[in-house]
Amino acid sequence: MGKVWSAFFVFWAAAAVGLCWVSPHYGWWLPGEAASPLGTEIDDLFHLILIITAITFIGTHAVLGYVLWKFRTGQNRRGTFTHGSHNLEVIWTIVPASIMLFISLYQMDVWQRYRVKSTFDQQAMRAPVAEVTARQFEWRIRYPAPGKVLKDMPQPDDLYTVNDLHVPEGRPVVIKLRSEDVLHSFFLPHLRVKQDAVPGLVIPVWFEALHSGEYDLVCAELCGWGHYKMRGRLTAEREADFQAYLKKLSETQFDDGVTSQPAEAAEDENSQAAEDES
């Protein structure tokens, strides 16, 4: 390999590091600050692992570039044969292994809170806010009636929406995730929550939105030609607003076209009366 090629390989490594370095300034980084308490810790883990891998990446590529440059072609040298170094082998086995061991132990706490059911908030587990059923290509949502507990089977007073999930803010909430057809993945990028929806399984997923607001809900598992369409919206709101939302939903869903329009009907009658008079 000549000078050009050593420069070529060093250039791409340097470009990758440079691009990562500037990307937060251009908004090419994480989707905003984590909007959930666990999300913050997941971000910390991500950054820790990123730092470790970045140091390793820069170190190995610096050595690679140095070796490419030093032993480039056209220097009229003879290579020497070496059978390897036992000490070096031991070092570069033990050092990465201990880093891996450290990472695996260090993340256990977050993993446990994220995925081990017995550690979930028990109150939230007892009263899931909604059942979310993924389907090609939308999210169908079933809430229990205000003040009721979500049952496994549909109930006469259940409330239904599509692609529009509302949850109360500031406390852990659980949704029951199902799939009607194929594998989907329930992904809340801002809350750093991602869970596959598996046909035949009912999977509890917990998260906590720190602040009121609207967040993206997307499918993170290629589920068919319309995968890109499978976008929903998570709205976190204050408990009172959430209850009001459910109440309004109930009114809309059980609308019979008469009782819901007393104001309108009264207006009609008034206008008719006015017409009669004239």
């Binding site: 090609q136 290509f137 939308e138 169908r140 009636a145 205000p146 003040g147 009721k148 549909p154 006469p156 007073d157 239904y160 599509v162 692609n163 529009d164 030609w225 319309g226 369409k229 976008r231 929903g232 919206r233 109930s250 009114e251 809309t252 869903q253 059980f254 609308d255 019979d256 076209g257 008469v258 009782t259």
Partner: protein, 411 residues
């Protein structure tokens, strides 16, 4: 660079650029009926469609149609020219709807063949789930409700996250496509009545050859056809457009809305029992299609049915009912709790009152059943997912606690 490197490099570049280049302009397809017309009758139809509707990349604003094309608003960026709204709708349609419903709204997009039920063909101007009386067009709001909620149980997804003005623009474009399709069908029917169908002309020519003295010749037949077309076409175009305008405007009128006069009858055990009796009665005949247990497997789904308007009568190859699009149509399985046209009691009332357009679900309202009877049936239907024991209804309001009562009296 060595010769080999250069060779590999140019090969890679060629591969990368393969497929680049201008793609062909999209165009509206003609209905199969139009293609059955003889050239002399087909050409004016094609010309009329081009003049009045244009092509996807070159839409025509035709003031005779009840469409909100978007008025020119010189002060607003993007709205300088009339027709901005229909163009906006077209662009959104191309992104969100085209791959199932097709460029022309014929329900024949690229993904359509994978879907069951098939995507809707709008071109006959029939939309299944509306708030309007039997036989009427949908209102703009009906189309919006479908876009927002999707159609559960079909592959029509919800577009609830699109903005209101985006939905409005899409709806206007769908109405445009539907009017274009219906305009074409109506014009072709007129042309057929004038004797413009190729098969008819060929038959007449053959008959004429048999009777050399008094029979028609090819020239006389075509002359007659051309004279008829020349004489009638301008008036025809206008009258079809005004018919369309009347139909679509009518759907927006409050008088066309199906609204019950009585509020929903409370879904008591008595109401469910009355609804059940009606379900099995000779009067409502629900059981004939929806079956003894409400699973959509009634006796009428066992037969082979005639294809309408065929002489001699042909039968469908598939057992069971068919809709006006000629697709096999399963009466709804009422035990699943999936309601395609919406799950509000009002929606179910409208389905029973005005039927489902384009399908075998008839309209019962006003004639066969009165309001109370319809509500009893609705209550019974809404109880079928729960083994007929309780009907879907809102949870009773909890009695206000002592504190709230105090607060209320205090005010």
């Amino acid at each position: 660079m060595s010769v080999r490197t250069r060779y590999i490099f140019s090969l890679c570049t060629a591969l990368l650029l393969a497929g680049c280049g201008p793609s062909p302009d999209p165009s509206f397809v003609l209905s199969s009926k139009t293609d059955e017309l003889f050239r002399d009758a087909r050409t004016p139809v094609v010309k009329a469609l081009e003049e009045n509707f244009g092509s996807p990349n070159n839409l025509v604003v035709w003031a005779k149609l009840p469409l909100d094309y978007g008025k020119a608003e010189p002060e607003v960026a993007g709205h300088e020219e009339a027709g901005w709204k229909i163009k906006h709708g077209r662009n959104l349609y191309m992104v969100h709807c085209l791959h199932c419903h097709g460029v022309s709204g014929d329900g024949n997009g690229t993904t359509a063949k994978f879907l069951e039920p098939r995507p809707r063909d709008y071109r006959n101007g029939v939309f299944k789930f509306t708030s309007t009386l039997s036989g009427l067009k949908p209102s703009r709001n009906d189309l919006k409700v479908i876009l927002q909620n999707g159609i559960p149980g079909s592959t029509m997804p919800s577009f609830v996250l699109l903005k209101d003005d985006e939905l409005d623009a899409i709806i206007e474009y769908v109405r445009f496509l539907s009017m274009r399709g219906e305009y074409e069908i109506k014009l072709v029917n007129e042309m057929s009545a004038m004797g413009g169908v190729t098969k008819d002309i060929e038959r007449r020519i053959a008959d004429g050859r048999k009777d050399k003295e008094n029979g028609e010749t090819r020239e006389s037949i075509l002359q007659e056809l051309n004279e008829a077309i020349e004489g009638d076409l301008p008036d025809l175009q206008d009258s079809i457009a005004s018919d369309l305008a009347e139909d679509w405007n009518n759907a927006e009128s409050p008088d066309s809305q199906v609204l019950p006069e009585l509020e929903r009858v409370a879904p008591t055990a008595e109401s469910l029992a009355r609804g059940k009796d009606l379900y099995y009665s000779k009067k409502a005949k629900c059981v004939d299609c929806h079956g003894l247990s409400g699973r959509g497997d009634g006796a009428l789904t066992e037969d082979y049915w005639d294809v309408p308007n065929t002489t001699p009568a042909q039968k469908y190859h598939v057992r069971g009912l068919h809709d006006v699009w000629g697709n096999p149509q399963q009466p709804r399985d009422l035990t699943r709790g999936l309601y395609r046209g919406g799950r509000r009691p009002l929606d179910l009332y409208r389905r029973v009152f005005a039927g489902i357009k384009g399908t075998q679900m008839p309209a019962f309202g006003g004639t066969v059943l009165n309001d109370t009877e319809i509500w009893d049936i609705v209550n019974y239907v809404m109880s079928l997912p729960f083994d007929g024991k309780v009907s879907a209804a809102p949870a009773p309001e909890e009695a206000p606690s002592q504190e709230e009562k105090v607060a209320v009296t205090g005010r």
